[in-house]
């Protein structure tokens, strides 16, 4: 038996198998997305069962209709509504990511490095909050935001999103900090740095990939959310894009092509972020992980 020859043949078969498996998986992953794309570019409808998602009578009309929507202000010039709404979405999501990370970083660090009274019960309680469905806690949250005078504002919405972003970021980052060797900070402290300086100058840079991924998650969950956004935001020029999309499909008439066109535009920023972050994604995710 010649191990190398047979090994190569087995390798070839396996390699073909691997590619086949991956191609099937990619087809599975892309198929629904291709339908959304085809719908967004279709100029006509044809109610028949089709297999291949290609647009019928291709047109850019829907994309244009969504992207160039304007707000007619009584007695004033029209404003570019969609631009405002996209800016809202992006700024609100960035703020959520930032608030989440800024609050979570020191806490996660303390959880990873210090022993203190109440640590274990605190962590367990925090994990438990993630198990409570939002259906029941949404209304008390409104009342609190109302008390703070933030109901119906974008800052209030950011705080709403922070309620899920912060606990998740804490868990995620605690795991990341735990994987960073203590020697690094200890060496810095021997060199005369205070604990906080060591944290800032040594640990934070080392945890950058994990922080980026955590921020990406917070960004994405805020960016895609529409139930809270819809109830919280009081004016059309404050709406985030998912709320706008929801308006295209109402009970009586559903404008599916516009909905699809809007979905495409919404997905692009997240896709770009994912593409940029994908190198870090794998390292950042495993470093974290929830430990109860």
């Amino acid at each position: 038996m010649s191990p190398s020859g047979q090994g190569r043949r087995v390798g070839l078969v396996e390699s073909i198998g691997a590619h086949l498996l991956l191609i099937v998986a990619v087809a599975f992953a892309l198929y629904p997305v291709l339908w959304v794309i085809s719908l967004a570019f279709s100029g006509a409808v044809e109610p028949t069962a089709r297999v291949i998602p290609v647009p019928i009578e291709p047109t850019l009309e829907h994309l244009r209709g969504v992207a160039f929507s304007t707000l007619e202000v009584p007695g004033g010039p029209d404003r570019w509504l969609f631009g405002l709404q996209l800016a809202n979405s992006i700024v609100i999501s960035l703020a959520t990511a930032l608030v989440g990370v800024v609050i979570a970083v020191p806490t996660a660090y303390a959880l990873a490095r210090f022993e203190f009274v109440g640590k274990d019960s605190g962590v367990r309680a925090l994990l438990a909050t993630q198990m409570f469905p939002a259906v029941a806690s949404a209304i008390p949250l409104y009342i609190i935001l109302d008390g703070l005078g933030l109901l119906g504002t974008r800052s209030g919405l950011v705080l709403c999103y922070a309620t899920t972003a912060v606990p998740f970021a804490i868990f995620q980052l605690r795991g990341a900090f735990e994987t960073i060797p203590r020697d690094l900070e200890e060496a810095a402290m021997v060199d005369g740095a205070t604990r906080f300086e060591a944290f800032r100058k040594v640990v934070l840079p080392a945890a950058r990939p994990a922080i980026a991924v955590t921020a990406l998650f917070a960004f994405m969950s805020a960016y895609n959310e529409f139930v809270l956004a819809h109830t919280m935001l009081g004016r059309e020029e404050m709406y985030t894009v998912p709320v706008v999309l929801q308006r295209y499909i109402s009970e009586f008439s559903a404008d599916w092509p516009k909905f699809a066109a809007g979905s495409l535009i919404v997905s692009i920023p997240v896709m770009v972020l994912f593409y940029i972050a994908q190198r870090h994604l794998i390292a950042g995710l495993t470093a974290g992980g929830v430990k109860g």
Binding site: S15, L22, V26, Y31, P32, V33, W35, V36, V45, P47, A49, V51, P53, P74, G75, L84, N88, A95, V102, A104, T107, A110, F114, F116, K119, G122, A128, T129, Q130, M131, F132, A136, S137, A138, I139, P140, L141, Y142, I144, R154, A162, V166, P167, N224, T231, R235, E236, M238, S250, E251, F252, A254, V270, F274, L281, T286, G289, V290, K291, G292
Partner: protein, 731 residues
């Protein structure tokens, strides 16, 4: 400050500056707020009406478009806090509900001479002798005729159904499965959804005959069995339905069709000799209680309902006016058709109980059309369901025992704390903890205020019943009701125990598939010799990056029995291999509906597991695997004895998290199957949602569901660790 933190601070400042800059100029205190649900041409017409009003009176008006579905919930959230609109345009059928919640004020002072409104529309906005809104327009469905396909329009529904048409063209398309779509037919048989005394009207011989009739239409292939509004529009637009029952919202879609069409009143049902009468919705300008006190708001409501405004809306947006002094333009036969229909229509009941008829009626109609139940049987079930939802909430209980328990608990905690504070060890531990507290203090405040307080208040809601704002303490009655399945059989569809089983099955199947697929793809992707790895990885992550509500709806479309892509695949397979697989009605049976939900959720969730696996695999050192190979371990042994045990610690938390997410995965269940068939695929969270938002706003009941979900998750995630600790202690 180091350069890095400096730049970080800059970014922070920039973002908050952006948040502030995006904030529109604060509305002036005397601005009027007007909310509406209009789109496109109707919204543009409204803006013009408002501009005229502002020019004439000098009052600025701030307009807000709100989605029709969430109009009510938004009013409830804002009006009691003084942040709601002064005037809002909504359908009259919500008036009963709004009145009950004190969201509307009287509008009599904003009316013109009552004689100028059609009697129907005025009656629709009058309750208890008071007018609660200025009627603006009337909307109902009517019959759209493709005159290119049919030259002579038959008088009766039976004749329409018997038309001989080219293959693939339905004689008639209407929303057969929705209660709203069935109402005209029900009226033709002399029945109604809600009886005069607010009891369930959709029972008895008239209702049964109407259902049998609808079933026959579907069985003969005269109408599509499961058309929603969008499909009705598509069928008519593409010339695949000769007639369609639809409303004014279809008109805009028909701007570019190449055939001639017109709008006429609905036909007569020959079996009874009565016409099909659609429900009429009157849109009215209503005033919030604060708006009703403002003369300017009253003037705005009056202007909205004025003859000028009505004329403008008819001309620009094709919205049918209810004013008798505003004639339909002669060059607008479509509007004339809708007006003729409106005169024959009956205003929808504005009783709050009307809302509770939709879900039971909808389920009954669907069951009958799918041939899963006889009309009588399905309707009896619907009546039972209606009665169950309308059942008065549990009686008030004395809060004394709970308060006693609470006091006792607080006392114990205080006692415990005092003892700890006296203990020198504990004091020292506390002192040692001080540096750590500096890092966590701020997040304790934020998380405490924003996460724990709402959660505790929310959990406490489960001990109350009644509408929000007038709730009263009922003790554990909500829990008792849930756990006893509201007095019905314990394992009936929709009972807590049944839903619980479905939820566990749902979670288990999803987690296994997520993990299996994610693991397999992760392992394949980490093959050292694989080419195009980066490309595959990016493409496979896409399901994660697209918003889940978008893809959930895309999947639902793919599972449509007649026009979905899955059916297209089945046809393609049949053509290719000469087989004869029937297209599957995915949402009519539990197994297939469940499978559709699972397919969607697996699609959404596998990339997460794949990425976690990939990450975990990078931590498996190559030399360990090589050593195992040298020792003669086969590939399979290397996988199961080395790789999997090594990545297990990294995967375990992700699996726990994934299980929690899946357990509470509301979007997929709600958007894909919507609980079909008959609520069987609902999971606990979607059931809680229904109690909170579609069944009489029973927040206390929904909160009790939430508490049960929480306890279940807590126990199941804690159990393994607890068992492990116990067995260790035993050893």
């Amino acid at each position: 400050m180091s350069p890095r933190t400096g730049s970080f601070a800059h970014v922070l400042c920039l973002i908050f500056a952006l948040l502030a800059a995006l904030a529109p100029a604060r509305a002036r205190a005397d601005d009027l707020r007007l909310w509406h649900a209009y789109r496109d041409a109707e919204a543009a017409a409204l803006v013009e009406v408002v501009e005229r009003f502002s020019a004439a009176t000098g009052h600025r008006v701030e307009l807000l478009a709100v989605a029709h579905e969430s109009f009510a919930s938004k009013l409830v959230a804002t009006i009691p806090r003084g942040q709601g609109p002064d005037v809002f345009i909504d359908s009259h059928e919500r008036l009963g509900d709004y009145r009950q919640r004190a969201l509307v004020g009287p509008a009599t002072a904003a009316l013109d001479d009552p004689a100028v409104y059609s009697a129907q529309s005025l009656a629709a906005v009058t309750r208890d002798g008071v007018v609660w809104g200025v009627p603006l327009s009337a909307k109902s469905v009517a019959l759209f005729v493709n005159t290119g396909l049919v030259g002579h329009v038959p008088k009766t529904l039976e004749e329409i159904a018997a038309l001989s048409l080219p293959a693939g063209v339905y004689p008639l398309a209407y929303e057969a499965q929705s209660a709203y779509g069935h109402m005209p037919l029900l009226a033709a048989f002399g029945g109604r959804m809600l009886a005069e005394d607010a009891s369930f009207g959709f029972v008895g011989p008239a209702a049964e005959r109407s259902l049998a009739f609808a079933r026959e239409l579907a069985e003969r292939g005269a109408v599509p069995r499961d058309a929603d509004g969008a499909l009705v529009a598509d069928l008519f637009r593409s010339g695949r339905a000769a007639f369609a029952i639809s409303g004014p919202w279809l008109v805009g879609d028909l701007a570019q069709v190449r055939f001639a069409w017109r709008v006429i009143p609905l036909p007569v049902v020959a079996e009874t000799g009565l016409p099909m009468r659609p429900p009429l919705t009157v849109e009215a300008a209503m005033l919030s209680p604060q708006g009703a006190a403002k003369p300017a708001a009253l003037a705005l409501a009056r202007a909205l309902g004025g003859a000028d405004a009505a004329e403008l809306r008819q001309r620009q947006a094709g919205t049918l006016s209810v004013r008798t002094d505003v004639p339909v333009p002669e060059d607008n036969p479509v509007l004339a058709g809708f007006r003729a229909q409106a005169e024959l229509a009956e205003p929808m009941s504005a009783d709050p109980a009307m809302r509770s008829t939709w879900e039971p009626a909808f389920r009954a109609i669907r069951k009958v059309l799918r041939g899963q139940a006889d009309p009588a049987e399905a309707l009896a079930e619907a009546a039972h369901r209606f009665a169950d939802v309308r059942r008065p909430p549990p009686a008030a209980a004395s809060p004394t025992p709970a308060l006693l328990l609470l006091g006792l608990g607080l006392l114990l905690v205080a006692f415990h704390l005092v003892r700890r504070a006296r203990d020198p060890d504990a004091r020292q531990a506390l002192r040692r903890s001080l540096p750590a507290y500096r890092y966590v203090a701020h997040s304790v405040v934020v998380v405490g205020l924003l996460v724990f307080v709402p959660l505790i208040v929310g959990a406490a809601t489960s001990l109350f019943a009644g509408r929000p704002g007038e709730g009263y303490y009922v003790g554990l009655a909500n829990f008792v009701e849930i756990l006893t399945a509201r007095g019905g059989p314990l394992l009936a569809t929709g009972s807590f125990w049944f839903v619980l089983l479905v939820t566990f099955l749902w979670t288990a199947v999803n987690v296994v598939l997520h993990l299996g697929i994610g693991l397999a793809l992760g392992l394949v992707l980490s093959r050292p010799t694989l080419r195009l790895r980066a490309l595959y990885r990016v493409l496979l992550i896409i399901p994660w990056a697209v918003p889940s509500y978008v893809t959930a709806l895309a999947w639902k479309g793919m599972f449509h029995q007649q026009y979905g892509a899955v059916t297209g695949l089945i046809h393609a397979v049949n053509d290719l291999f000469g087989t004869s697989v029937e297209p599957i009605a995915w949402f009519s049976r539990f197994a297939t509906a469940f499978a559709a939900n699972v397919a969607t959720n697996v699609w959404l969730g596998f990339p997460f597991m794949m990425v976690v696996t990939l990450g975990a695999l990078t931590a498996v050192p190559a030399d360990v695997l090589e050593a195992a190979e040298v020792d003669g371990a086969s590939r399979w042994q290397r996988l199961t004895r080395v790789t999997l045990p090594m990545i297990r610690p990294a995967l375990a938390p992700a699996v726990t998290l994934g299980a929690i997410w899946t357990f509470n995965m509301f979007n997929v269940v709600f958007l894909v199957s919507g609980g079909d068939p008959d609520g069987a695929t609902d999971i606990l969270v979607s059931e809680a949602y229904r109690w909170a938002f579609t069944r009489e706003a029973q927040y206390g009941y929904a909160a009790a569901y939430a508490v049960l979900i929480f306890l279940l998750l807590l126990v199941t995630t804690r159990l393994p660790a607890w068992l492990a600790r116990r067995s260790e202690a035993a050893r």
